[in-house]
């Protein structure tokens, strides 16, 4: 790691780019979601602030900033404070491993277009995403509120359960590629075929598990309004609530980015092999576009499906998704061995 | 025939030893209520085992009535330490093995009604016990012997502990601890001998009986080793001060357990003396003889006297076992061929007559659920057949001529009087005491007027019970009238063993342990010819 300053600069630039993309996910999605929800429910949605209500997120942000920050008297102060921060942390760390373009040569240096070109990329992702559960649990615990606690417990159970299926479906992707690096995965897909084709099963599992991992409908049991008010973040308000909000959407985006990278070729487009700056820009745009499509699906699903019951949720996770993912793993392994992939 | 399973399939000792185990396996799949099926199954298995025994005997019994030493193919077991799987039968073990096999079906018939619970497991325990006993009798490798010796313990422990009487746990634990205490010492002694053997044999280990027999140990070492072996066997016999487990075990054990215990298990102790303790440590046994003699004679008189004052039928018979086995020990210690022949025969005799007595007590117990003398009296009127068998078996046990007990006692005492003198004369008084306590038993159970109303309607022996007793009685009579048939197979063996023992006793003590040369060519030729 005898890195000189150019590398640091490059890294900082790359991080800035990705951060720029991901920080904006929440406000944009806020709007998208509300509008989409409205369309699905055949009503206008927020359309007063700005054209088409586009500035609504800004207004909301302002509202969050100026709202009173309430801390319940019986709460565990330290943990109560930590929870939102912990929520943001993994969300904003995950994307450092997502590649967003082909290698770029600047001044004789080859710069991989990924913030952290680590060997164990996928593992790191999994490791970090597994930490996400802490914020929920701590939030639920620290609030010292039975709804919060139940929400926290539900969240942790749900996360642990679905993480297995998620991990296993991701592992299947790694098999033919023979590498943990996401850029290798993208390269492989570019060279062969998008993983979604041979691993449609894995993708399905990944998709469902992603919904669960992000606590979104139909798996939003931890924050089911009708049962638990708002689950673990019942007590939170103002910027802390915003932090959870941000974390949720960032997580969504991160998962979407990962899913896209794993199953839909990431930044690449089939048949397109551009290099240099053009390639970088096209790659980034392609990635963002793909993420966008993915997010749209998230939204669509959210407003279309009813909520699961908790036991159904567990049953689905353990008795359907997990076996399916194992089956997928075996199939992929077999196909790999057979040389079909 | 090279593998264990190959042996198992042939007409071999392995089959004899392990057939009961194999037969026991299906019993684990019987439901515990399937008594009837289990009984019939076990009975058939035991009869097949008996058939195997007879077949084996038919294959190897010499034309002159002698029984040569026959080895199964020797298999390596724990090769690093020279432990071998080596079963062999000779004239010493043959009668005891056949006795064990012979008793098994009778035990099953005798337990038909007495055992009401977990019949399949009971049968399995009996069968496993047979394997242990036969294995211990036939093992020609001391390590193997020890393993079988311990294997015997567990099923017997279960027999007493599960199907026993009121104080069964106490009795079972007592039985187990007494026996275990001795056998551990024996293990140490065996290991020490094997270690010494390998030290003298250039690092090649062996536990084989013939090899360890080659050890020529100085007296001071022999004494310790002999003490370990003798204690083990003395407890099993049981000899006088180690006998207290026996009455408890017998009283609490179910009928079948008692019969097996008295019939064959105790013989392992005396067999151990004859096979191991005496030939392996001739000098030490010579030194210990006065002590052991004193114990044996004490045992004869003590057992008889205590038996006399018992109020429980089974306990009386149990104490009588102590006295009877005292005779056997006396004969063994006499180191006289007649006495040894008598001892060996007496082991069988005791198995038959005491076995029959235990069966009879059990039959009475099945009817009245008590064994106390107070509860009986005058049974001859309601149960004449029972009375006949009781008198018959008791008289055999008393040692009435023309029945088996006499032959054994007579030979033991004749032989031991020749070498020992007055201890044998004192021991002879035991025959008077035997009459006293056994006639007391007869008197209190079947003679006299009936004093208890419960006894007036007792059913006489059923066909099954008679079937269990008749073979025993036939054999008792046969041995009594023509004992030669039974003495002939073991005579040659005993004479050889005794000659060797005598010769070694006469050798001077050595300073250092040494190894005798392996069997010379002539002897090899002799044994080959014997085969």
């Amino acid at each position: 790691m005898n890195s000189g300053s150019p590398e640091i600069i490059a890294t900082l630039v790359k991080y800035a780019v990705m951060f720029g993309v991901f920080i904006n996910v929440a406000p944009i999605m806020n709007w998208v979601e509300r509008r989409a929800c409205a369309y699905i429910q055949d009503r206008p949605g927020p359309n007063r602030v700005g054209p088409l209500g586009l500035f609504q997120p800004l207004a909301d942000a302002a509202k969050f900033m100026f709202k009173e920050d309430v801390t319940p008297a019986a709460a565990d102060k330290l943990l109560y404070l930590m929870a939102p921060v912990l929520a943001l942390l993994p969300a904003f760390t995950t994307f450092v491993i997502v590649p967003f373009g082909p290698d770029l040569t600047v001044g004789g240096r080859t710069i991989p277009l990924v913030v952290a070109p680590v060997d164990t990329g996928v593992l790191l992702f999994l490791a970090l995403s597994s930490l996400a559960v802490y914020s929920l649990v701590l939030a639920g615990y620290a609030s010292n509120n039975k709804f919060s606690l139940l929400g926290g417990i539900r969240a942790s159970a749900q996360l642990i359960s679905y993480e297995l299926a998620l991990t296993l479906s991701v592992l299947a992707v790694l098999l033919p590629v023979n590498s943990f690096r996401l850029s290798d995965i993208v390269a492989w897909q570019q060279a062969h075929v998008w993983n979604v084709i041979p691993q449609i099963l894995g993708f399905f599992v990944f998709l469902v598990a992603s919904f669960a991992e992000t606590n979104r409908l139909p798996f939003d049991l931890p924050e089911a309004e009708s049962e638990l008010i708002a689950g673990f973040h019942t007590e939170y308000s103002a910027m802390r609530f915003a932090a959870f909000f941000q974390a949720e959407y960032t997580n969504m985006a991160a998962l979407a980015a990962l899913g896209v990278t794993l199953f839909f070729g990431g930044w690449s487009l089939p048949g397109v092999h551009l290099t240099g700056w053009l390639g970088a820009i096209v790659g980034l745009v392609t990635l963002v576009a793909k993420i966008g499509v993915c997010m749209a699906v998230f939204v669509w699903v959210r407003w279309t499906f009813p909520r699961f019951r908790y036991d159904q949720l567990m049953r689905l996770g353990w008795k359907v998704l997990l076996p399916l993912s194992i089956l997928n793993l075996i199939l992929v392994a077999a196909m790999t061995l057979a040389g079909w992939l | 025939m090279e593998t264990f399973f190959g042996l198992l399939a042939g007409n071999t000792l392995t089959r004899l030893v392990f057939f009961p185990t194999v037969a026991a396996v299906p019993l684990f799949f019987f439901t515990k209520t399937a008594s009837k099926a289990a009984k019939i199954y076990v009975l058939i298995a035991s009869l097949i085992e008996l058939a195997f025994g007879v077949l084996y005997l038919a294959a190897h019994l010499g034309r002159d009535g002698g029984f040569p030493l026959v080895h199964d193919t020797v298999l390596s077991w724990i090769s690093g330490y020279g432990v071998k799987y080596d079963l062999a039968m000779d004239g010493i073990s043959m009668p005891l093995v056949l006795l064990g096999i012979f008793l098994l079906p009778l035990v099953i018939l005798g337990s038909w009604r007495g055992i009401t619970e977990h019949w399949p497991m009971f049968g399995a325990s009996l069968l496993l016990l047979s394997t242990g006993v036969l294995g211990a009798l036939l093992a020609y490798d001391l390590f193997l012997f020890y393993v079988f010796w311990e294997v015997m313990l567990v099923p017997m422990y279960l027999l007493i502990g599960i199907w026993g009487g009121e104080r069964k746990i106490y009795a079972a634990v007592k039985f187990f601890l007494f026996t275990m205490a001795g056998s551990l010492l024996m293990l140490v002694a065996i290991l020490w001998m094997a270690w010494t053997f390998q030290r003298l044999n250039g690092g090649v280990w062996s536990f084989a009986y013939d090899d360890l027999l080659r050890l020529n140990l100085p007296l001071h070492q022999q004494v310790w080793l002999f003490a370990a072996f003798a204690l083990t066997f003395a407890i099993k016999v049981p000899m006088f001060p180690f006998h207290t487990w026996l009455p408890d075990a017998h009283v609490e054990a179910p009928t079948g357990g008692s019969v097996i215990l008295a019939g064959i298990l105790l013989k392992l102790g005396t067999y151990g003396f004859l096979r191991f303790a005496l030939p392996l440590f001739p000098h030490a046994s010579e030194v210990a003889r006065p002590l052991l003699l004193a114990l044996a004679v004490t045992g004869i008189l003590y057992g008889a006297l205590v038996a006399w004052v018992q109020v429980d039928m089974k306990k009386l018979v149990a104490y009588s076992s102590i006295a009877h086995l005292g005779f056997v020990m006396l004969g063994l210690l006499a180191a006289d061929v007649v006495a040894w022949q008598g001892s060996l025969l007496q082991m069988v005799n005791h198995g038959l007559s005491t076995g029959a007595l235990f069966l009879l007590v059990g039959m009475l117990y099945d009817r009245r659920h008590t064994k106390k003398f107070d509860e009986f009296g005058g049974l001859a009127r309601v149960m004449p057949i029972f009375a006949f068998f009781l008198v018959f078996a008791s008289l055999a046990s008393v040692g009435l001529p023309a029945l088996n007990g006499f032959v054994g006692e007579f030979m033991i005492l004749t032989g031991s009087f020749r070498t020992l003198g007055w201890p044998a004369a004192v021991a002879t008084f035991g025959v008077v005491l035997a009459a006293i306590y056994l006639l007391k038993m007869i008197q209190l159970t079947i003679w006299g007027p009936i004093t208890k109303d419960e006894n007036r309607k007792l059913a006489d022996l059923s066909f099954r019970e008679i079937a269990a007793l008749v073979p025993l009685c036939v054999l008792m009579l046969w041995i009594g009238v023509a004992p030669n048939t039974f003495l002939q197979p073991s005579r040659q063996t005993l004479e050889t063993v005794l000659a060797q023992y005598r010769q070694r006793v006469d050798e001077p003590d050595v300073r250092q342990a040494s190894l005798r040369p392996a069997t010379t060519g002539a002897e090899v030729a002799a044994t080959e010819a014997g085969r």
């Binding site: - | 061929v337 008289l395 007055w422 030669n484």
Partner: protein, 642 residues
């Protein structure tokens, strides 16, 4: 015929087997046929054999028949029979008397329960007794010896559902067993020194090399004395000598024919037979022989005194038997073996006759045995009365009946040997015998009836099946003596001559003919005096009146005699009870406290250690972890600094 010798014991055995195993299902007639037929066949075969033996020449003057090897090898004993002059006599007695008692039994036991069982036992007894007599070695003799003991046990306890008979049987067996113990030891000693138990081999060796038995010591005694003593102790048991006679009176609990056969005629004389058989050894053990004579004489007079005071007719006969057996041993001890055996033979006839007669009386009295309830029976039981009196005269030694000759020979032997004390004792005993026998005759058959009316009503003579044997035996009691008429009385003493070859030291000191005749006369006078006194005392209408008067005058003496000198009670107090106490002590104290206590002490010690140690077991995981940690630390210290 001789080759059928083995059939003689086997036939009754077969009869016993048939009756014993199947008897309950066979018709009574068949049971009788088998039960009586077997001894009859046996008798016929025996007579045939005897005839052939008497007319043939045999090596060693004996016929040996080896059936099979019982054991071989170092201890090599065949099952073999021997017919020589000695066993021939016994064979005749046993088969002849035995058969007639069987016949008598068929009548006597006709209405008893267990008829077939009775005959099975009785046949078995015959078989065993014949084996005893015919065996050619001590082991076969011992087999028979024990066999008759067993039958005695079973027959005494024949009425098994009453309390006393089984007890008496047990007593008989055990007391006999004490004797057997000695017999066994004697055999061991013989075997240990000679390696054989065969009569011929043994006696030839001993006779040719007496030093072997007189100079070798076994357990402190010369071998001959040791063996002789052992055998005599064995004989004491079987033949009811002091101190082992106690079983015989009790043995009367059995059926009367049994008493006649076993406890009078045959089994009890086995001891005498054995001593006579072993005469070679006894001759070499003079001390023991003297002891035998003394014991015999003592028993004779001792039992006779008891017999005087008994009122049970069978008890009188029982003590009489003991007394007469003492007589026989007296003879044997004096070396007059032929006299002993002669008395065995005559005694077999007249004592069997007396017992059967008493059985007839008891039969008529409906089971009553007490003479004080009898009286005046001669008119009801004429045959019984006549034969009984013949028997009584014979036993009293009135010439020319059988008892006179045999008894005379014994007294003669004592006198000839100069054993005047023993002679005197024998003489007194003879007088006492005459007295108590005629006491029983007068009490039973003379005077007036003292029983109940009901009994009187039922009085009847026994059926012919019973009276015929009585007459046969009575005839025997009359004529049996003539085979041994002493030379001084003009006879040739065939009996003595017949036995000469089997006796090792046959010669008896001679004495003057005049002295001998004088002694005979004294004996006859004493016997007659006994009878006279008995008539004086008991001949009246109420025979018991005088006795009651005497009893009142000498109460202690009467009580002691009536209670048989309290011997049973003394044995009980001196032997049985202490032994029982000792046994209980062994059981309850030694076993429970000493042995188990020692072991339990070990167990308690272990438990105690555990009790102390368990306080470290707090049940607290952390404590255990701490112990563990400390241990690891110590180990670490050892590694790091050690």
């Amino acid at each position: 015929m001789l080759e059928l010798l083995w059939l003689i014991p086997i036939l009754p055995l077969a009869g016993a087997a048939v009756n014993g195993l199947l008897g309950r299902r066979l018709p009574k007639a068949l049971v009788t046929a088998v039960g009586v037929g077997a001894p009859l066949l046996s008798l016929l075969v025996a007579l045939g054999c005897l005839w052939e033996y008497a007319h043939g020449q045999f090596p060693n003057d004996a016929y040996d028949q080896v059936l099979y090897a019982w054991t071989t090898g170092d201890l090599s004993i065949p099952v073999a029979f021997l017919l020589d002059r000695l066993s021939a006599v016994m064979l005749f007695i046993v088969t002849f008397v035995g058969f007639w008692i069987h016949v008598y039994s068929a009548g006597y036991m006709a209405h008893e329960e267990g008829y077939s069982r009775y005959f099975a036992y009785l046949n078995l007894f015959m078989s065993a007794m014949l084996m005893l007599v015919l065996g050619n070695n001590y082991l076969v003799m011992f087999v028979g010896w024990e066999g008759v003991g067993l039958c005695s046990y079973l027959l005494i306890g024949f009425y098994y559902d009453q309390p006393f008979p089984p007890y008496a049987g047990k007593k008989a067996f055990i007391v006999n067993r004490v004797g057997d113990f000695a017999f066994l030891v004697g055999m061991f000693a013989l075997f240990a020194n000679f390696g054989t138990l065969n009569y011929h081999d043994l006696f030839t060796t001993i006779a040719t090399q007496p030093g072997l038995v007189t100079d070798h010591y076994t357990m402190g005694l010369p071998l001959a004395s040791f063996v002789a003593l052992c055998f005599f102790v064995g004989a004491m048991g079987k033949s009811a000598q002091i101190p082992l006679y106690v079983w015989l009176p009790d043995a009367m609990a059995g059926p009367t024919p049994v008493s006649a056969l076993i406890h009078a005629a045959t089994m009890v004389t086995a001891g005498v037979y054995m001593v006579v058989r072993s005469n070679v050894i006894y001759q070499l053990a003079p001390g023991v022989s003297q002891f035998v004579a003394v014991i015999g004489a003592a028993t004779a007079i001792f039992a006779a005194t008891i017999a005087i005071a008994q009122t049970d007719i069978k008890k009188v006969l029982a003590y009489s038997t003991v007394s007469q057996l003492g007589y026989m041993f007296l003879a044997a001890g004096l070396g007059a073996y032929s006299a002993a055996l002669f008395h065995v033979m005559t005694h077999a006839f007249f004592k069997a006759l007396l017992f059967l007669g008493s059985g007839s009386v008891i039969h008529a009295m409906g089971g009553e045995q007490d003479m004080s309830k009898m009286g005046g029976l001669k008119k009801y039981l004429p045959s019984t009365f006549r034969t009984y009196v013949i028997g009584a005269l014979a036993i009293a030694g009135i010439p020319p009946l059988a008892g006179f000759f045999s008894k005379d020979e014994i007294l003669h032997a004592a006198a000839a040997n100069g054993q005047w004390v023993l002679w005197a004792v024998g003489l007194i005993t003879a007088g006492l015998t005459a007295f108590y026998m005629f006491r029983s005759v007068f009490l039973t058959f003379f005077g007036s009836f003292r029983g109940t009316h009901e009994q009187e009503h039922h009085l009847h003579e026994s059926p012919p099946v019973m009276t015929i044997p009585l007459w046969i035996l009575a005839a025997g009691a009359v004529v049996a003596g003539f085979v041994g008429v002493p030379k001084v009385l003009g006879g040739i003493d065939r009996f003595h001559e017949w036995l000469q070859p089997v006796l090792f030291h046959p010669g008896q000191p001679e004495m003057g003919a005049g002295t001998e005749v004088l002694l005979i006369a004294i004996a006859v006078i004493v016997a007659a005096a006994g009878i006279f006194l008995a008539w004086r005392a008991y001949g009246g209408e109420d025979g018991l009146a005088n006795e009651r008067a005497w009893a009142a005058r000498f109460p202690t003496l009467h009580r002691v005699l009536a209670n048989k000198y309290y011997v049973d009670e003394i044995y009980d107090a001196l032997i049985v009870r202490p032994l029982a106490v000792l046994s209980r002590f062994f059981w309850k104290v030694v076993d429970t406290y000493v042995i188990d206590g020692t072991i339990n002490a070990g167990a308690y010690l272990t438990e105690l250690t555990g009790d102390v140690g368990r306080f470290s077991t707090t049940g607290n995981v952390r404590s255990y972890a701490l112990y563990f940690f400390v241990g690891v630390l110590l180990l670490g210290c050892w590694i790091a600094f050690g």
